[in-house]
Symmetry: C2
Subunit: 579 residues, 2 copies
């Protein structure tokens, strides 16, 4: 029997039941979004007792399927007010799946200020007072160390950092990864939801867990091999990402003229070499990097995009050091020193704040005169201050929308109050449609049209033209909603987009595991169903098509080098979600 | 011919035309809301070139009708994102009406950072560079003095203070009053809209203006006398308000258990004597107050509610020192020293920030740990810092919603991101329905149900019960929308609510002025039409019934002394705007 766990923080009691029938065939994002739409009052205060936060491994998590260890976290977002699925690596997803836990939900809210650690093991749920030393500003690296001493080095951990404990709108949830460092359910402020429920950490001890049952092990293994080969054979998924990390995109986007610069006032920079993927690779190679270089964010990852960035002495600074963060601090905030960017990335992980939201907020704050342009040392101080927050640290941790509001700025790059990441919609029109229409607020991972617009994987669409973009953004969002439900890392898309056998193998693995017979049409329908859940929630929360818009400045301020503006009409944008 | 003036800040040119036919019968709020709904793109950025701000005297402004000198300012609000009509006293309304100016509109936006002064006189519009000395943090008192030296002591002035210049979301527009001090179009951040158009001040010189034409002077005079008598005969309008100011409400609301205390955690305080209306009267009487005591906010006011609050030496500190401000700093923020509250009120006027939004934001900041409870000296410092803004000053000037967001608070008393004023909806249910449903965001002046719930003027409805409140809140909002279109001060309602002859006299004055024959049904229809304009704009801006809700905490946290929660269902609330 798979378990469905509810933890009520009002009563500090939990219940473990069989999975309700309606959730049985769902996993990951499909499950979290279905549940949130079912049970969370869309007009509730995101930090109140009526919000619920759900953690769900994907359909394939816990199996030997490559790259299947991603986890979905769902709730109403305190940043956007929309439904939110935030997707993360780390060890938790595989562990929960092996323990037979389909999902666990945290609901209610304690009456007092006591913070708790929730422990999940094969015997059930234990709710304990959080150790005082991990509260009140303790960094995540130290908190993971302390929790490891207390609960064992082998446990999985999900953690609200100081930012989450203080319920800051851009707070993430940090997940311990196989190396003992951190991965984040980054976007949408779900760390604040965890903090609002006085949950400091969730400790997952898989000791005694069995294997995930597979209905047809032979078919599963066969499909798994085809799938793995599809990933490894692909130049990006199998090689490029491991070598350069996602940071490989700096030069690619710069070349394309879609790298937003200085708070979205241009599309290209001339200091890209300071922090490009090529520079990262050379730096890591030169410095040694504890021999780690690249690695996976979860067990079973064969893409291994995560880079292990060391200091000049070769000592670890940070990992999971992604393109979007480097772009946001580098190109968009003009911080030109790569090591400083790495230290800020580490500090953001340590306080538990979304690195995309924060990096964009920093650039907006620079435009608003709160921080000098390019002053990385000052940014590092401010991020560290989030552990004992100063007013400025609170403004930045409020997200880009809050910064724009308090600075009275017109040029605030947000959709539904979530910061626009690293790809300029004026020069890459497909991704703009995703930003505008995804139920999540601006989110590149909700329909990564960079793939067909820039990388020419899965499609070949001129990024500067409107032709074909509406259909493409729709298809990518539908497909992504399905992939997010499997526990698969999004990058598997690169491996299967142009490889029908690889794609079929992904479906075959699900069929073999569950003894079912999904077709690609069923997968497509799953993606649509997920989006319908999410849009239904948002509609009832008060969102309309009027919110599916990019910030106005993009219609009027053309960016170089292509001298382009955002030129989709409202009516055209509204076509994306018609399916 | 009445004039309709458009000032384009992109080209720095103006056009003066006849009043478009569709606006001919409208004035004040009816005109501003009709215009904004017509011409402003509801999804535009409030601080961008596509927003337009319109200033319109009321239908009766400029005449000898008592209390007819109020002015409406309309735009899309940067605080709420809704349509906004902000209503103010001061000299501008009467002057514009006498100059035959039906309304003036400021649109567009300069490409550079130069700030301007717009001068309106009978020859037309002049746009001049603003004197450097009134920019960059110059307080409003000093700016009015400097502008008076430059343009003459007789001119009317509308001014963006430092808060407006910096486009802070709670910035007001300050209007010079007959005493040379200030009145505010306070709510909704319209000062930021003015600031976004680089308009520092509007100077109105009525020299050479004639009289407002009256179609039937005799009938007008007769009606005006009846109307004046209705006001003067009423114990509140004719006597109470002049004697104690609006601050008379401190003891009344405290007695009723509807005085929100310590960020809306109780409904009664025990230090009400520190700053009640009775205490204000005794203090002013004792200190002398330059012999002013009470006075009107505009020429022709016979209610004279505004108190002239002096220091211990009898020297002016502030005027227009209202109940809602005193409540917000006193009861709600626990600042117990009346003089300190007066100095903060003065400082808020001086930087040009809405005193209601700011006072509520202060209490939320106290709850969030940013300011010690009751520390008035610190609050005074922070408000003064808005002139050269520190991060904390920016947070407070962002309004109560922003403070709640950056502090991760659940108990944030806002509707549509505008702070809930001085009357607790749990203990006074009628006003709660107004807060929830007015197109303006929480605003007591949009349908002042305190009248029938507490003061028993015009109606007698138990404030603690739901019975009759829906119909009452609807009727009050419709009536108010009509009154706001006449240029009449809202307090005339007290004089006419239970005096049919007085009410008829108000209609008779309009009919006599314009040579028309409105009935009370027509006036009712006017109010409905105004609300329809506003709701249409909001709907197209993305607002739905889901936004017509009070903050969730009011449903769960009962307040003493009546131990009451907010208990209207969503369906009941949605009945209010069905007409």
């Amino acid at each position: 029997m798979q378990k469905f766990i509810r933890i009520d923080m009002t009563t500090l009691k939990s219940t473990i039941t069989e999975v309700p029938a309606k959730y049985a065939g769902l996993g990951g994002r499909a499950l979290t979004s279905c549940f949130v739409n079912d049970e969370v009052n869309p007009t509730c205060h995101p930090l109140g007792k009526n919000n619920k936060i759900i953690f769900a491994p994907g359909l394939l998590s816990g199996t030997s399927a490559p790259n299947s260890g991603r986890m979905s976290v769902g709730a109403k977002s305190p940043l956007t007010g929309t439904i939110k699925e935030s997707n993360t690596g780390g060890s938790a997803s595989q562990m929960l799946a092996k323990m037979g836990i389909k999902a666990f939900v945290i609901e209610g809210k304690p009456a007092d200020d006591q913070f708790y650690v929730i422990k999940l093991d094969i015997n059930g749920v234990t709710i304990e007072a959080a150790p005082a030393e991990i509260l009140g500003g303790c960094g995540n690296y130290e908190a993971i160390r302390i929790l490891g001493e207390k609960y064992g080095a082998h446990v999985g951990i999900a953690l609200a950092g100081p930012a989450g404990e203080y319920r800051m709108p851009a707070a993430n949830i940090s997940f311990k990864d196989p190396d003992g460092n951190m991965r984040s359910a980054g976007r949408g402020g779900l760390g604040a939801v965890l903090g609002s429920k006085n949950v400091k950490a969730i400790v997952i001890d898989e000791t005694g867990a069995g294997k995930v049952p597979i209905a047809d092990p032979e078919a599963f293994m066969a499909a798994s091999k085809v799938f793995a080969k599809a990933l490894l054979d692909h130049p990006v998924a199998g090689k490029g990402l491991a070598l350069y990390g996602t940071d490989v995109l700096i030069n690619i986007l710069n070349e394309a003229g879609g790298l937003p610069a200085k708070n979205f006032t241009a599309g290209r920079i001339d200091f890209n070499d300071n922090f490009s993927g090529e520079t990262m690779n050379a730096t890591i190679t030169e410095r040694g990097g504890d021999g780690k270089v690249s690695h996976g964010c979860h067990k079973g990852c064969i893409i291994r995009c995560s880079q292990w960035y060391p200091d000049k002495q070769g000592k670890y600074i940070t990992s999971g050091f992604e393109y979007e963060t480097i772009w946001g601090l580098g190109a968009n905030s003009e911080i030109k020193d790569f090591d400083t960017i790495a230290y800020i990335d580490r500090a953001m992980d340590d306080v538990g704040i979304d690195s995309i939201e924060t990096a964009v907020a920093v650039a907006v704050a620079m435009e608003g005169g709160l921080i000098p342009w390019g002053d990385g040392d000052r940014v590092l101080e401010i991020v560290k201050e989030m552990a004992t927050p100063t007013p400025l640290a609170r403004i930045i941790a409020g997200g880009a929308g809050v910064v724009g509001k308090v600075c009275g700025l017109y040029r605030t790059p947000v959709v539904k109050d979530q910061a626009i990441p690293a790809y300029d919609p004026r020069a890459i029109k497909g991704i703009g449609l995703t930003y505008a229409t995804t139920p999540m607020g601006a989110d590149h991972t909700a329909g990564y049209c960079i793939s067909g617009n820039i990388l020419k994987i899965g499609a070949d669409i001129d990024p500067l033209k409107k032709d074909g973009q509406i259909e493409y953004a729709r298809a990518m969002q539908i497909g992504t909603a399905a992939v997010d439900s499997t526990g698969m890392c999004l990058f598997v898309y690169f491996g299967v987009a142009d490889n029908p056998a690889g794609y079929q193998a992904l479906i075959d693995m699900i069929n073999a595991q569950y003894g079912i017979n999904l077709s690609s049409d069923d997968v497509d329908e799953l993606g649509k169903t997920v989006l319908r859940f999410e849009r239904d929630f948002n509609k009832r929360a008060g969102f309309t098509n009027a919110h599916d818009r990019l910030p106005e400045f993009m219609e009027y301020e053309a960016i170089e080098p292509h001298n382009v503006v955002w030129d989709f009409s409202p009516e055209e944008i509204d076509e994306v979600m018609k399916f």
